[in-house]
Symmetry: C2
Subunit: 406 residues, 2 copies
């Protein structure tokens, strides 16, 4: 008897019909002789609707009350899914994050999981119950309700799979696997049979939007095998696991685009030790995730520091920069949120020099200007104007992976 | 410094504008130098919408999962109200029923409060916070989420007022007090300045819909002074307290109508001890509240037993009756849900004989047939056909309280 953790995203539980569809999948998995733990997100656009509702009340809702509000979305989903499974005559129980004992830190709206208690989960599984768990949420040691931030349900699923030592963690979504690029943007994109954690991690954090980066990190750390599948068909999905055998030959396994990017720059910073620390510590204290950092080559003892963040954090980051500007002796600042990040990812890059040069050439041929560059062992990212993103992705996919299917 | 518990119903928090309005009232009470604990219901029709959603999933949702679903409504309200109060720069914190430590029995969807912990509430009040508490919900000793049934937020408010020894428990609703009859039905109805717990209790359980009966019972038991007010204006409300001085002269202080009534009858029951016990224990086990019970005069050693319940429980009650029919040797059964209950209430009735006869005469003059009669020291109720309810209420109000205003 295998123990399977399944996670269904918001689009999979967007309405009663889809919830019933998920219930049938869950029950089929149970009746095939498996123990099943199911993690669900809030239905459809519920989270966005709740945020819009809060914005009608106040411009700056407190994160603590935001979590109180947002946690209701997943609680609706688990109750409705449990009802649908009961209707199919399988024993089932729904549990909120706090009821499971998912303990997080107290960074509201972006909390990190500190520990997962298996006691209640195992008790319910032993009773023969299918267990439905609310994704995206947990509680602090002081019983305050927290949420894990966008895509947090993936992290919940992986954390439960790790804690319960599940055989596999299936992530059901609206796409049926991991593609070499977003098929909606690049028509020639192909589905991968498997991919390594590192490649998936780069793709995930580069905006492939299939899996939440933190969940992949968590899976890698605990050796949880992930399977990305569609909840709307029975197609084979993509396995995310330690060693990839299938796609090794490919230098570049994927092209990713991300529009959730804003760039900021602080100009004329004197070249003194501790400047970067002051700036980025101040950003970290506000829980702003900084992605790329570029410090220009010093000229006359003065530097420019540029960096990118998620667009949601732009207002906060601008405020932070204005506060520390004088402290670090900067002469000015600028920001721009009409940019995007295009990236190529592949474990084969390490042994293939010249991939970066080929990427820059490809973008140049398209007449696309590069604002910032960042590289790691298995990926190269460029910040470009948002308007060129689709064209850049198509050109890079054709260059590195193959022509669009006719 | 007074400690005031305020309760706002669903219509008072139905949309962002109304939530802001409630926030202004709460903040005004705080700035007048009071400590304030606020209990809120789910916004507008949220509870009904959630029930409709559940019904789309399954005909018979389990009560446990129903509570999981319904508890989200109040959680939305408390978060949004807390945000609106923060926007007015007053310190505030929202707490769910479980977070407060409202412990209930485990009768899901109709749970009863067993105890209220003051620890967290007092800690937050001492910090200077306005405390917003989710009405209608609690948890069992096993941390299962429960709800208190329709109107449960009133009970939450009274329970908190009792536990905290609050100076007053203000119930804000869409009417500005307790009237001699529903003003929408009887145009001549008048607002009462004050009313005794017992009279309010009879009016409440008779469908006056201003206060939940259990909350009035609780208030009487713990000596909590209630004040019924409108959240839409600043009119004086109605006080509900131990001794009524104002309205003592009136024989009848109110006329009430209730359409949430179904009647059942079990025919041809042999006259043996324990029959009633068997029938009503079986109904109690299913948590069905029985209101009126009439056992007809025995004829040839055989009885008919008739009783009334809320319409929501009709299906369940019919099943119970069918199950126990053979056990008690009944020859048949019947039920009808197109009936209503009309009642007159007044502490002055005790010392005024002939009130019942006058009520029956009044209904007879209107050509209204009486199906069942039930009396207590301070009220008389009659079951009549639903279609006659409005006419019956108007006639009784004119007879006992006064003519409609022109």
């Amino acid at each position: 008897m295998a123990l399977i953790v399944q996670k269904y995203g918001g689009t999979s539980v967007a309405n009663p019909e889809r919830i019933k569809n998920v219930a049938r999948r869950v029950v089929a998995t149970r009746r095939a002789g498996n123990q099943v733990v199911v993690v669900v997100s809030a239905p459809g656009d519920t989270t966005d609707e709740l945020i819009a509702l809060a914005k009608q009340i106040t411009d700056r809702p407190s994160p603590r009350e935001m979590d109180m509000l947002l946690a209701t979305g997943e609680q609706m989903s688990i109750a409705l899914l449990a009802m649908a499974i009961q209707d199919l005559n399988e024993p089932v129980i729904s549990l909120t994050g706090p009821q499971v004992g998912i303990v997080t830190d107290s960074v509201h709206t972006k909390a990190k999981i500190l520990s997962v208690s298996c006691e209640r989960l195992e008790k319910e599984l032993q009773k023969g119950n299918i267990v439905i768990v609310a994704g995206f949420q947990g509680m602090t040691c002081e019983h305050e309700i927290t949420t894990l931030g966008r895509g947090g349900s993936d992290t919940t699923a992986v954390a439960l799979a790790a804690a319960l030592k599940a055989d596999v963690c299936q992530i059901y979504t609206d796409v049926d696997g991991v593609y070499t690029a977003d098929p909606r943007v690049v028509p020639g994109a192909r589905k991968l049979a498997s991919i390594s954690y590192d490649e998936m991690l780069e793709l995930a954090s580069l905006g492939a939007q299939v899996l939440q980066p933190r969940s992949v990190e968590f899976a890698k750390l605990h050796g949880v095998v992930l399977e990305v599948r569609s909840s709307f068909n029975n197609n084979e999905g993509t396995l995310v696991k330690e060693v990839t055998e299938m796609e090794k030959a490919m230098v570049v396994s994927g092209v990713a685009g991300d529009k959730n990017v804003a760039r900021l720059a602080v100009f004329g910073v004197p070249d003194r030790p501790g400047i970067a620390k002051t700036l980025f510590s101040a950003l970290a204290r506000e829980s702003i995730n900084v992605d790329m950092i570029v410090q220009s080559y010093m000229r006359d003892g003065i530097n420019d520091i540029a960096f990118t963040i998620g667009r949601d954090d732009l207002d906060k980051a601008v405020r932070v920069c204005e506060q520390v500007k004088e402290e670090i002796g900067a002469s000015g600042m600028a920001y721009d949120d009409r940019v995007a990040k295009v990236s190529i990812v592949g474990a084969g890059m390490i042994t293939n020099p010249g991939v970066a040069a080929e990427m820059f050439a490809c973008l140049a041929e398209q007449g696309i200007n590069i604002h910032m560059i960042s590289t790691s062992e298995i990926k190269i990212s460029c910040i470009i104007d948002e308007e060129h993103l689709t064209r850049a992705m198509k050109a890079l996919h054709e260059r590195f992976i193959g022509p669009a299917e006719s």
